[in-house]
């Protein structure tokens, strides 16, 4: 069962095989997606027609490559914008939340904490729908009352960012709170004792301590926003973020350019993962 307890050879080998099968199961779909981005065929399916880079660099229809497909490139740009805004906003609020829940005592704190966790247990589709309903209620009321249409409250990128912000903040709060809990408060006292005001103490001592968590939460927030589908689907307007654009093409049936986009996403995610691993590393000593 554990290495210090002996077990039969058959048991150990079959256990190992199971784990191997599991990892094959885990990795195959990704390998397949990546492999077919190099297949010289109009469809991402068998037979294998040889190697090509057309799906990255092809310049003309029907072999339009990723780097010349303006619609896809534009949707990547949209996703980056939304993810950047969402990440920054949720990090700012999550940091406030961490200080509120770790440092302050107030009546109803537990209730507020449970409420803060709620976005994690609301299905993404419903979160999107509820924000859609509420924002249009507000927008309609505004239009009737003041005869002015607030464009931002109609489906579009502002709502998409708000919807993602609503649940990503919870995740960022959990990450940052966990780090803040490890912080020795006397360090802030020491800073004040050495002449810092309370805000200076937080800025010069506490925030540098939180930096690895802020970076880690930032990377997770960015990816979650970039890859979000459910909430985004309900709130999207005319500008489609990447996941929506890919989904539409996937349903229509598309050339392997989608595989090329997928490879790009994998590379991007891997880079972000490496960044977050490296920033966390010095803490491990």
């Amino acid at each position: 069962m554990i290495p210090s307890i002996s077990s039969s050879r058959f048991y150990r080998v079959s256990y190992l095989c199971y784990v191997l099968l599991f990892f094959i199961f885990l990795i195959t779909p990704l390998v397949v997606v990546a492999a077919f981005s190099f297949n010289d065929s109009l469809f991402p399916s068998l037979p294998w027609n040889g190697f090509t880079l057309d799906w990255y660099f092809g310049e003309h229809e029907p072999r339009l490559g990723l780097f010349h497909d303006d619609a896809l490139l534009e949707s990547i740009g949209v996703s980056v914008q939304v993810a950047t805004v969402t990440t920054l906003a949720s990090l700012a609020l999550a940091t406030c939340n961490a200080f509120l829940f770790e440092r302050e005592q107030f009546p109803g704190k537990n209730f507020l904490y449970v409420l803060m966790l709620m976005p994690l247990v609301v299905p993404g589709v419903i979160l999107g729908v509820s924000i859609l309903v509420f924002s249009s209620t507000v927008a309609n009321w505004f239009e009737v009352t003041f005869d002015y249409d607030i464009e931002a409250l109609r489906p579009g990128l502002v709502l998409v960012a708000l919807g993602q912000f609503a649940f990503i903040t919870t995740i960022a709060t959990l990450v940052i709170s966990a780090r803040l809990r490890k912080f020795d408060v006397t360090q802030e006292e020491a800073a004040m004792n050495l002449g810092a005001s309370r805000l200076t103490a937080i800025a010069t001592v506490t925030l540098p301590f939180l930096k690895p968590a802020l970076l880690g939460a930032g990377v997770v927030a960015f990816l979650m926003s970039f890859e979000n589908f459910n909430t985004t689907l309900m709130l999207v307007g005319s500008d489609a973020p990447l996941t929506i654009a890919m989904f539409d093409r996937l349903r229509e049936g598309s050339t392997p350019v989608l595989n090329a986009v997928s490879v790009l996403l994998m590379v991007g995610s891997a880079c972000l993962a490496l960044i977050s691993v490296f920033t966390q590393r010095p803490e491990k000593e």
């Binding site: 885990l26 990795i27 994690l120 209620t137 459910n230 996937l250």
Partner: protein, 294 residues
């Protein structure tokens, strides 16, 4: 002093800081979570009688119960989500145990990170991978032909099994991570003591390992169940037109038919179902929500 440093600061300055911290979280939860859900309940309880004329009514909920299609889709979604959650747990537990308890040092970290990799890639890409594998002209069909098991291409996509595979695959991460974390915190000497006192493998597993891992099992199950129930992408892409997933009904009502009242009612029903099952799961295993979530 639990309020932290600054006890000697003037009271007003201290309170001001507190309100400045409290305001954003209240605005966030109020404007983006609570009010939207209240508004959705209100919308679900009205019926359009004329243009811009609404009145209070339960008709949207009555429609749900009266129409077998909606009702069946709902039950089917719930049952399949539960099955997917249990299967995920059963597949993930041995692997998590292997990573947490059998391996150590570098291989352990490597395998754990390998588990995380699919999480870093969009769900869309993962599902796309399964489509390429399962479709009629896909890899598995091709492999089966090449091996001689079948003599013509077979469509493996667009059925419940395909949906199930996709759901399990997508959810695996959210099960493995909490399981590995809790199992890792179990002291090996407890397992050794169990054996030393004469327990069998099965008995040690049941009376020592599983109780210890319960918070991880619960939090994994809750997250997986939630994600499965609320999934839209996987059933739509792998299940095709007849996937009959409840989120698709919500989407149809809102976006295709523009019947927001009906869609809101569906949303509330799904939310109630998900909350009920999460609550029941916590009650049965006697875990607390805040502990499981964080």
């Amino acid at each position: 002093m639990s309020a932290g440093p600054g006890g000697s600061f003037s009271r007003t300055q201290y309170r001001l800081g507190f309100w400045l911290l409290l305001a954003p979280v209240v605005l966030w939860l109020g404007l983006l979570i609570i009010l939207p859900h209240i508004d959705m309940v209100l919308v679900s309880l009205r019926e359009r009688v004329a243009s811009r004329q609404y009145e209070f009514s339960f008709s949207n909920y009555i429609t749900f119960f009266a129409e077998p299609l909606y009702w069946n889709t709902f039950v089917r979604t719930a049952v399949m989500s539960i099955v997917a959650t249990l299967l995920t747990l059963m597949i993930a537990f041995p692997v998590s145990f292997y990573i947490a308890k059998v391996l150590s040092g570098r291989p352990k970290m490597a395998l754990f990170i390998l588990c995380l990799i699919p999480f870093w890639v969009s769900e869309l890409v993962r599902t796309y991978g399964w489509m390429i594998l399962l479709r009629e002209t896909g890899l598995i069909s091709g492999a089966l032909q090449w091996l001689g098991f079948i003599d013509q291409p077979v469509e493996l996509l667009y059925n419940d099994a395909a949906i199930m595979v996709g759901l399990i695959y997508t959810s695996m991460l959210f099960m493995v991570v909490p399981l590995v974390t809790t199992l890792d915190s179990l002291d090996n000497s407890l397992i050794e003591a169990g054996y030393d006192l004469g327990g069998s493998s099965w008995h040690v597993m049941r009376s020592i390992v599983i109780p210890h891992a319960m918070p991880g099992i619960m939090s994994g199950c809750i997250v997986v169940f939630m994600l499965t129930l609320g999934n839209y992408l996987t059933p739509t892409l792998l299940g095709g037109k007849d996937s009959l997933w409840f989120t698709e009904q919500i989407y149809t009502q809102f976006i295709t038919r523009f019947n927001w009242e009906q869609g809101a009612a569906f949303g509330i029903l799904l939310l109630v179902l998900s909350s009920l099952i999460v609550w029941a799961g916590l009650k049965v295993t006697k875990q607390s929500f805040t502990r499981v979530m964080s």
